[in-house]
Symmetry: C2
Amino acid sequence: MDKSTKCALCPQKAVVHLKYFNRKLCKQHFSELTQDRIRKNISKNELVDKNNRVAVAVSGGKDSTTLLYSLANFAEKFPIELVGITIDEGIEGYRSESLKVVEKNYKKLGIEYKILRYENEVGKPMDEIVKKDQRLPCSYCGVFRRDLLNKAALEVDADKIATGHNLDDEVQSILMNYIRGDFSRLARTGTKTAADTGFVQRIKPLSVVPEKEIALYAMLNNFEVYWGECPYSHEAFRSEIRDTLNRWEERSPGTKYQIYNGAENLKELLKGAIGGAILFECEICGTPSPSVICKSCEMKKEVR
Amino acid sequence: MDKSTKCALCPQKAVVHLKYFNRKLCKQHFSELTQDRIRKNISKNELVDKNNRVAVAVSGGKDSTTLLYSLANFAEKFPIELVGITIDEGIEGYRSESLKVVEKNYKKLGIEYKILRYENEVGKPMDEIVKKDQRLPCSYCGVFRRDLLNKAALEVDADKIATGHNLDDEVQSILMNYIRGDFSRLARTGTKTAADTGFVQRIKPLSVVPEKEIALYAMLNNFEVYWGECPYSHEAFRSEIRDTLNRWEERSPGTKYQIYNGAENLKELLKGAIGGAILFECEICGTPSPSVICKSCEMKKEVR
């Protein structure tokens, strides 16, 4: 066991111990490693092409703020255009606060942006929806947010939507899909979605960085981040899976990467075996949908 | 919540509550359900063909004893021949005790049997092997047992080897393969192995019955079972996975079946995508092997 508190690469004090490769790093080397991982993820998986217009989905939290700054940094060397897209679900005291942070960051980086609000798009803010409905708020909110991110990306004429999903988010989803046996969802998602789904392609540049490290990276770089949590958040299954994964990782450092890489391989193996869902165009809003009315329009009817 | 202590199907007292389909059953209906599941697993998955000679791998524990009686029962209605195969690893106070139980059951059912012993086949009993070697005993023992079961089955001229793996064993293996990303192993194993591997085909008639229910079934039917545990057993990873699965099942009854069914579907999807390993014949013993000397012969050299 390495008892030193020094960086493995220089004489500076270590700020982090990456157990999965048994290495302690100082602020500078940790930041470089993180940037490097994100950059390699983008290039190796061809997440963007030259001259792409990339819509960055920003909520103000640690992940999406790190994403915004990382892509701004990436855009200095590779010709892509960034435009921010933000969804205002209408949650007083939570989203109202984070929006201030989001706008500060957009302005600081000089990035144009678009905000879509549930109040206008769905017809009601979440604060109203939760009052009336028995369903779990997340079940609505996930569908609406997804739908509006796509709408916002189309409105700003983007080629891609970049989201701040980190390694932990991805591995949780992978394990949930394994448990549910949902290999068709597994094949559809991941670091980038297929280009031909009818939706704006989604990319996840942070998918190779563990959640804890993104939090540390955001703090070390003094990003202005909103740390609050959604008051309606209630994802019992995902919480259970999160705990399990953290326990496994604690016992066997590297487990999360192992699961992530395994799923990437599985996706390759499944290519061709899983056909794309046959898509209609939603009769109300025109977006691609597995049924004649899309889930979002159906739910909008429910909540109005 | 159903507070009754009565069987859902008759006025008898319930002996079990199957939470995953919210049903309480009496001894008779629970036994019928269990038999039915095993029978359906055999027929639906074509685990045996008419006039097959089936080698039943029996250790004397609850699973393999239940397997032996279940197949004896099955053989009354469907023309298959049974022959017992048992491996004596040479573990004093454990296998020496269970062997007495095994032979009693073979004799009670009038089933011919063959016992192969590490002492003769490997050259040393496990009690000797563990004294000398640093490796975890299970890593050897698993390889030797697997090899000797195949050898015993060939010697008794069997078409199939039936093993007592239950639902929990299977789901643990599935989850371990997901975590390791070992989809080639996942595709090779399951309720029955491929017929063309060069090894005697293995079948698992109990793969659809949860471990707890097999224990209960064995007790209710007064099977003579050896309940001891191997003194060398040490499978840290599997234990962790077992605990995780039991926790998930407790929170969401049915999770084990869900994972099991998902993996069966995945195996279908992977058909064709994963090629069989190119096999040599082991230069020493002649069994199929991915290398010129098989793992078992290599390990035999190590321990001798």
